[in-house]
């Protein structure tokens, strides 16, 4: 095993005409680890997920996956590479083809990537059903016959059917009832442990991210503002946005720190300097003029805030 990360994203940007959805995102995920992206809606998390898989073409940046730059692959090579990187979507009602039986849904990925014979496809499908705790009789049923949680489990089984090295999970439980969320999250974790899959996990739910991820990046208006190991992000958040986000989460910490006011600004008009300054409780003059850079604050934790400079100088 090399020490090279499974996925290394650098300077990733995406503009839709004037809208800068994702700006200069850089991170890497070591083999077998789970990397979390958190942020409010509109922070560019989902776009980042799609950029990583090149479902959306990046405006700029590199995506090194298994040592190859995905951005440089031809459409055919990219399609073949998809065998090693699969995605789980937020909406389990929309991501499955309603006119395809579960048998076809679970064997199709193997079929289109030419993995094994039809008999092996079926055996894999049966094994996957067992792994998601569903009876074999589910094979001949159609997506509409399942509940949301069941469908999401089928979507997970489909993502695993090519034995991928990377799974990108875009809000995999936010469309599900809270009672079913835990089931699906536990399943994801168990299967990840079993298969040694690397995961990029996206959610707006801080508790879910805390449960799932080894390392976490907090996104705001298309940028990563803080990044680090889970314990440090939750234990000692350095960026005012992360602090506010944690304070807004129901339950622990609520009320102690300043809560977030207002809404995320439009990506059409990103504020000058620090993008967060319009909502930051501790913003000062420098924040409007100069864009804060990512700086290392030890223990693998990084944040982009001028306050960290001031603290250092003081």
């Amino acid at each position: 095993m090399t020490s090279e990360p499974m996925l290394a994203v650098s300077g990733l940007s995406k503009s839709f005409k004037a809208v800068k959805a994702v700006r200069d995102v850089t991170f890497s995920i070591p083999r077998g680890k789970t990397f979390g992206l958190v942020g409010e809606s509109g922070s560019g998390k989902s776009t980042t997920a799609r950029l990583v898989l090149r479902l959306v073409e990046p405006t700029d940046g590199t995506i090194r996956f298994r040592g190859r730059d995905l951005a440089g692959l031809s459409p055919g090579d990219l399609r073949r590479e998809r065998r090693h990187m699969q995605m789980i979507f937020q909406d389990p009602f929309g991501s499955l083809n309603p006119r395809m039986s579960i048998r076809d849904t679970l064997t199709e990925p193997q079929l289109v990537h030419g993995i094994g014979s039809p008999a092996e496809h079926l055996r894999t499908a049966e094994r996957l059903l067992a792994e998601i705790s569903m009876p074999r009789t589910a094979l001949d049923r159609y997506p509409h016959e399942f509940s949301g949680g069941q469908r999401q489990r089928i979507a997970i089984a489909r993502a695993l059917s090519t034995n991928p090295e990377l799974i990108v999970a875009d809000e995999p439980v936010s469309a599900l009832d809270v009672s079913v969320q835990a089931q699906v999250l536990n399943l994801l974790r168990d299967l990840q442990d079993k298969h040694g899959t690397t995961m990029l996990f996206i959610s707006h739910d801080l508790r879910v991210v805390q449960f799932m991820c080894d390392e976490i990046a907090v996104m705001y208006l298309g940028e990563i503002v803080e990044q680090g190991p889970r314990e440090h992000i939750y234990g000692a958040p350095a960026h005012p946005y992360t602090q506010a986000l944690l304070a807004s989460a129901p339950g622990k910490g609520a009320g102690k720190r300043a809560r977030l006011k207002g809404e995320i600004p439009s990506a059409h008009a990103v504020p000058s300097g620090c993008a967060f300054r319009t909502r930051c409780p501790s913003a000062f003059e420098r924040c409007a003029i100069e864009k804060p850079l990512m700086r290392d604050i030890g223990n693998g934790q990084k944040a982009a805030c001028h306050l960290l400079d001031e603290a250092k100088a003081a």
């Binding site: 499955l96 083809n97 199709e108 289109v112 067992a130 399942f146 069941q150």
Partner: protein, 300 residues
């Protein structure tokens, strides 16, 4: 029907005891219990069979002229009476139906095939769309009757001419419908999911996009069928159709119109056959639209 096991909500149950949501009525069940749909299907089957079995049901030569038997009123001898040349109207309607329905069927198959193929491409590839849609606009601006008349003038009146002209004229509206549906379907998450799985484009069309747009295509096909039958009758009536030597409902009406006062049955029976066909096809199209619409399905 709860799927959550009360004992261990966070962990999945062992397997077989899990229940599934019950299914709704299938499309076939809804079709069989829809009175309008079934009426129209029965009418079409009767019309279709009488056309197919015309040589058996009406074995005489439908074009045989016998001046002595002119204008005989409908009766036991001649079910539908005879026309101005003493031809048996029952024979003519049955044999005419062969032509009319055949033209309708062939035109539907040809124009719908082209419309589905081009419409799917146009809806999916936006740069092709720009060019193709301008061509369709042009085609739609051109009156069909003029095109058909011109075609008949150049190629001479024949069944091939009628089929070609009607097929071309009827492509545009269907193409627009297919394109519009594909435009909606291509934005569905299942398409993005399929791409992320690595499904090749051709399979994306055959397994994802076309099945998703099959309902409106089926509905449109029934309307195109009726438009084609009516179109053939219209073209034959104004004399740029399949030519006077062939039998069709439209041709029968052309000659009959001179004798309406004298022998109304000459007009009545081909006209009735034509009307019933169009009515059945339109009713079928309407009820299919209801049956195949998933939002309406739940109500039944």
């Amino acid at each position: 029907m709860s799927i959550i096991q009360a004992t261990s909500p966070d962990r999945l149950p062992g397997g077989d005891e899990e229940s599934f949501v019950t299914t709704n009525k299938t499309v076939w069940q809804r079709l069989l219990t829809n009175p309008t749909a079934m009426t129209s299907v029965v009418m079409l089957v009767v019309l279709g069979l009488s056309a197919i079995l015309a040589p058996v049901l009406a074995p005489g030569n439908p074009l045989k002229v016998s001046p002595a038997d002119r204008f005989i009123a409908p009766g036991a001898e001649h079910f539908f009476g005879t026309d101005n040349l003493g031809r048996d109207m029952f024979d003519m309607v049955l044999h005419g139906g062969r032509t009319s329905l055949f033209v309708g069927l062939v035109v539907t198959v040809i124009s719908m095939s082209i419309a589905v193929a081009l419409g799917a491409i146009s809806g999916f590839y936006r740069h092709v769309d720009v060019v193709l849609m301008r061509l369709v606009d042009g085609l739609m601006a051109f009156p069909g009757i003029v095109l058909a008349t011109a075609a008949a003038g150049i190629l001479g009146p024949s069944m091939t001419t009628v089929i070609t002209a009607l097929s071309i004229v009827l492509i545009a509206p269907s193409l627009r419908i297919v394109r519009g549906q594909v435009l909606v379907v291509r934005e569905l998450q299942m398409i993005e999911a399929a791409r992320s799985v690595g499904v090749p484009t051709l399979r994306l069309f055959t397994r994802y996009i076309l099945p998703a747009v099959s309902s409106p295509i089926l509905v449109q096909a029934s309307f195109i069928f009726s438009a084609a039958v009516l179109g053939e009758a219209g073209l034959s009536f104004i004399g740029v159709g399949i030519g006077p030597k062939e039998l069709s409902w439209g041709n029968a009406l052309t000659e009959a119109r001179n004798y309406i006062a004298q022998a109304p049955w000459i007009v009545l029976f081909p006209g009735l056959a034509l009307m019933l066909t169009i009515l059945a096809l339109n009713l079928l199209g309407d009820s299919l639209r209801d049956i195949l619409d998933p939002r309406l399905a739940r109500r039944r």
